[in-house]
Amino acid sequence: MSEIESVEDFRARARAWLAENVPRLGPDHRGRSFVRPDDEELAEVAEERRLQRLLFDGGFAGICFPKEYGGQGLTREHAEAFDQELAGYAFPERLQVPNMTPCATVILEFGTEEQKRTHLPKILRGEELWMQFLSEPGSGSDVAGAKLSAVRDGDDWVLNGSKIWTTGAWWSDWGLCLARTNWDVPKHRGLTVFMVPIHQDGIEISRIEMLDGSNEFCQEYLTDVRVPDTDRIGGIDDGWTVGTRWLLHERSFSSSPYALHPTGSNSYGSAQGDPADNLLALLDSAGRVDDPAAREDVGRAYTLQVATSELDRRLHALILSGKGSDQLAAVGRLMHGVAGAQVATIAFELAGQSAVAGDVDDDVLGDLGMRYLLRQAGSIGGGTTEIARNVISERVLGMPRELALDRNVPYREVRTAPSGGSSGARR
């Protein structure tokens, strides 16, 4: 094995390359707004694919992915240095979660040599964009309760069923799909993971409208979709071995070295600028610079933001040092949900009446009402905070497991939610 470049050399090289090649974000860049016309969205995705290709060509894509699959074969410390240098630059935000992690990391961990050589370089070049076909209507937090079925037919599998809460399936290429291949064994023992091209005749994509009018989430209906057995990840009926790692990668996204998180970005890797600046701007717009209650709110929100990043840093160190189990990631996931909701609430309260009835052109305060309405989204998506609390109490602290009535029972006999194939998003 060859010597790897020192972190400091790498940092210097990254700094120079970024300054030369990558556009900087404007001073008033406020991150993605979630309600925009489709053509804008598509243009942004195209631009992010271009940025990813730029990183790849510059030798900075997939810093912790092995070289043989198109990555840089470097360490977590290199990834962190790059995150620090990346602050203030445009980067392919949509291509991080779930594309780089958990999708690409699952392929890296469980894929065959051929699967890895086929897909990982394309992902790192921005040519393939992956999404998770994981949740199902009616399964809620019980991911292993998947009912999308895969039936063996010769060298293929035939998939039928529905997946939901897939981000941007309509502009993505592949789905990493958890399917049920055996109904006669207990829940966790009858699952298998497949790689599925999204745009094909057997898959109908339906976009879900959120309460703010955005419709980035999708539901997919799969009808007789044929997948060759060579596109299976992991063993037949052994999908939960893959699934547990997959979920762990999902919970750990905020400290994953496989995804970019420019320093100063918010918990979802979205570039939001310095949180202090945003809070002070809000204080100013609300006309409350001299209001002690509002000033206290700014201090509280900033505390939560710093607390979130310092907690991430600590958990990451604990896990890395072996002093804490991987499951500690659930503590971070809980914090992101809880603190995110608290900060949204504080911002809403700072804005006062302008957040619910504001002038059409008030961009600072006018959005805060809608953001507040959506404040729980960060405590639901990517595994609910309830599941995180279960994981913390049971797997981190060793408290007794919840009674599961579906253990050791063939899955077809388990009572489940009334979901079927119909949209869980419809009432």
Binding site: G140, L211, Q353, A357, Q376, A417
Partner: protein, 383 residues
Amino acid sequence: MKVGLSADQELLVGTTRKYLQDSVPSDVLRGLRNRPEGYESDYWTTGAELGWAALLVAEEHGGGSVSGEGLRDLALVAYEFGRQASPGPLLGTNIVAGALSRADGAAFESELEQLVSGTAVGAWAYAEPVPHGGLGEVAASAVESDGQWVLSGDKVAVEHAAQATYLLVTARTGDGLTQLLVPTDTPGVTITPQRTIDVSRRYARVALRDVRLPATALVGVAGAAAADVELQLQAALVIQTAEMVGAMDRAFELTLGWLTDRYSFGRPLASYQALKHRVADQKLWLETSHALADAAAVAVQSGDPRAGELVSVAKSYLAEYGPELLQDCVQLHGGIGVTYEHDLHLYLRRVVIGSALLGTAREHRLRITTLLEARKGARKVEA
């Protein structure tokens, strides 16, 4: 759950509920987001026939209520509006009609007739923008000049101003307050719709630029309207909190049903103790909200000297726990709870709007302390 309603009140509630369910079920509501008015004018006039806009108007001026306690009846209607997240200018029209009836119902006979019959909508222009955005801050000015009134200033978050025929504007004259009735087509009045988080309720900014009004526009006494404004605020808070409780009630029902119907790990969600305990807290918040909103309605209706405290206590509690309850309902629903197709957000919006308009929780807490000090001071003077 309401206790102690009379048969007449049960009838009013039942008729209103059925009408709302039939005319604006949730699928219709969802579609209203694209209508600038937020409701159909027929819908409102039919509602007015049920008595919705007559409750604060004296019988001799064409109004009346089933129980003789108009505000309490109105709170029952508002509660139903909350339960269905119903559209319509309920608060503004009633506040304006009530103020006109109280001030001089005979002089405003024609306006009252229109408001009560639903052929005109009223809007109370009270709140102002930053830097005068605090509860009760009034910077708009009303100046008497040559037997006319000249009105200037800016108002925001005026409910259904763009749909209104009449604005009741609260303004300042020297150290005191003056209220004027302003037809929305008066020169110098500019009404600009604002964006809002509700699906059907609309708010607007009202710019008043040297608006000239005849002496007859005066509602109540010039420069001495503070007590009237306080009464309007109290009544408005009774309507607002009643509506919030209705929306909380419905969201709680939906959530309890959801938890019972859905299964996870082979068990109904309702069997998970962590969720059960949160639902128990929700029940606590809900029952307390009922208790406080009802107590506020009774106190304002009866002219209790502590009515001002009680409306603020109700509002400060509901503005804190209403949104918390709704957000926890969203969380318990999971992703479905933030989709547009689901009903839950209709109630979430209504409760959140209520929490932020007519004074935030914080503003009402501060108001309570000031009122308590005043009460203590008054007692000392007596003693």
